[in-house]
Symmetry: C2
Subunit: 239 residues, 2 copies
DNA sequence: CGCTTAGTTGACTCTTCTCAAAAGCAGTGG
DNA sequence: CCACTGCTTTTGAGAAGAGTCAACTAAGCG
């Protein structure tokens, strides 16, 4: 089914009934493609759909007065971009495709009905929103309290676990379709510094990159180095 | 009623029925006091109650391996500390009283029943969780992309609007019961630097502090200076 | 093969941190 | 009411991390 990536994610919380799965599938209006760098939703909009990412990476971001962009979250397959719009009047940030993306447009009306009437599914959806919030908190700590090299290491640990959880990584490597500019807009530093810190991580033999593939050479060491504790991801699967 | 501060907050979203209000009041098991610096909930716990802050300021925080504390959110009267626990297994962070606090303990069971059965109230509660999440995103941008002086200015703007929304401020000033150490643990900088930046804001004639009272001398200028856009607070009241 | 975008490097500047120590304030007990 | 104590705020000076600017190299694409 179209919504399989979402179902897989939600079932980390609890097994869904076939009816719930169908209700979700049923709410999909259509699937759209976005090119890298294209906006999926813009700040100020009140979208008619809830967007579910099926393929590719997207990012939540805000643009500051000075023209600076800050990326606040990465979205990967199975992630909902904007359940917010079921309850908030308008988007307070934008969401852009970071790589070519495939997105399912879910009827806002049907989604709201699901949240109101399907107890279990509704819980699973709010659970996933709460996990997103927990991730946001961890990123806040990362930016506020970790030095640049550990920030990056921490992010890499997180994205390995998250891609793993949705079957996008089997070994200790994953496809990271981002430029160093995008990474630095996420970690609150300049590209130049990001570049140097990445080199340092390579130098410490913690990671290796082959094109767009990020290879973790020593996961235990990388987690240790960055002070990574996977608790906040609230994943059920053990690692 | 005990839960009045929460009701006032939720009614920013939509007027609640008397029955919904009573259901909330009914879920309160008792009210407890916490001294400043006392923990209300600790990481790893699975509390039996949902905690509603009635008086005082509290903060979400995490302690890093190196012993560094980072504060990720301020909670003020009307804020729920941990609706998370209705769906997540354990707290991934701690919550501590920053000033003496009065807290209502709400039955977890009854809260879950409310979320499952009271459509409107449930929406209002999730709405408030989404606003918290939006605030978290803004803090992330603040830490990632704003210079130290603007960070502080931005935080002060936010706390003025939030205290106003719950009737804790009428003019352009509010009670800020925090030490500079706590402020700096929030903004990801050292106390020394926090102190200097506060002096700078005073020097620019933007703020003034009298004991624990923060007085904004020129709100428009402070908002302008910090690049503050209140959209993310999703407040209904105009300012 | 040429063009454009992404990654890398060097030298210099500026913000923020570190380490200390002084000064101010508030609560406590005599 | 004062001395004492502990915490918070403030200052100073030097060090380190991160930003800036600018050029150069490498890689992807038509």
């Amino acid at each position: 089914m179209t919504v399989d990536p979402l179902i897989a994610k939600l079932e980390q919380f609890r097994k869904l009934t076939p009816e719930d799965c169908e209700a979700l599938e049923d709410a999909v209006v259509r699937v759209t493609d976005y090119a890298a760098r294209e906006d999926i939703i813009q700040q100020g909009e009140k979208p008619d759909f809830v967007h579910l990412l099926l393929e590719g990476w997207a990012g939540r971001y805000k643009i500051l007065a000075e023209g600076e962009r800050h990326i606040m979250a990465y979205l990967i397959p199975g992630d909902l971009c904007d359940i917010h719009v079921t309850l908030l009047n308008q988007m307070d940030h934008s969401i852009g495709a970071l790589s070519p993306c495939k997105v399912a447009l879910i009827s806002l009306e049907k989604m709201m009905r699901i949240l109101d009437t399907r107890e279990d599914l509704s819980r699973a959806l709010w659970w996933s929103a709460l996990v997103d919030e927990a991730t946001l908190r961890e990123w806040l700590v990362t930016l506020g309290a970790r030095p640049a090299d550990k920030r990056i290491a921490h992010l890499i640990c997180e994205m390995l676990l998250r891609t793993r959880a949705v079957g996008l990584s089997t070994d200790d490597s994953f496809e990271l379709p981002l430029t160093q500019q995008e990474l630095s807009d996420t970690m609150g530093m300049t590209v130049v510094h990001m570049n140097r810190m990445l080199q340092e991580l390579r130098g410490r033999n913690l990671i290796e990159s082959k094109g767009k593939r990020m290879i973790i050479k020593d996961l235990a060491a990388l987690m240790e180095f960055s002070g990574f504790d996977p608790l906040y991801l609230h994943q059920v699967a053990k690692h």
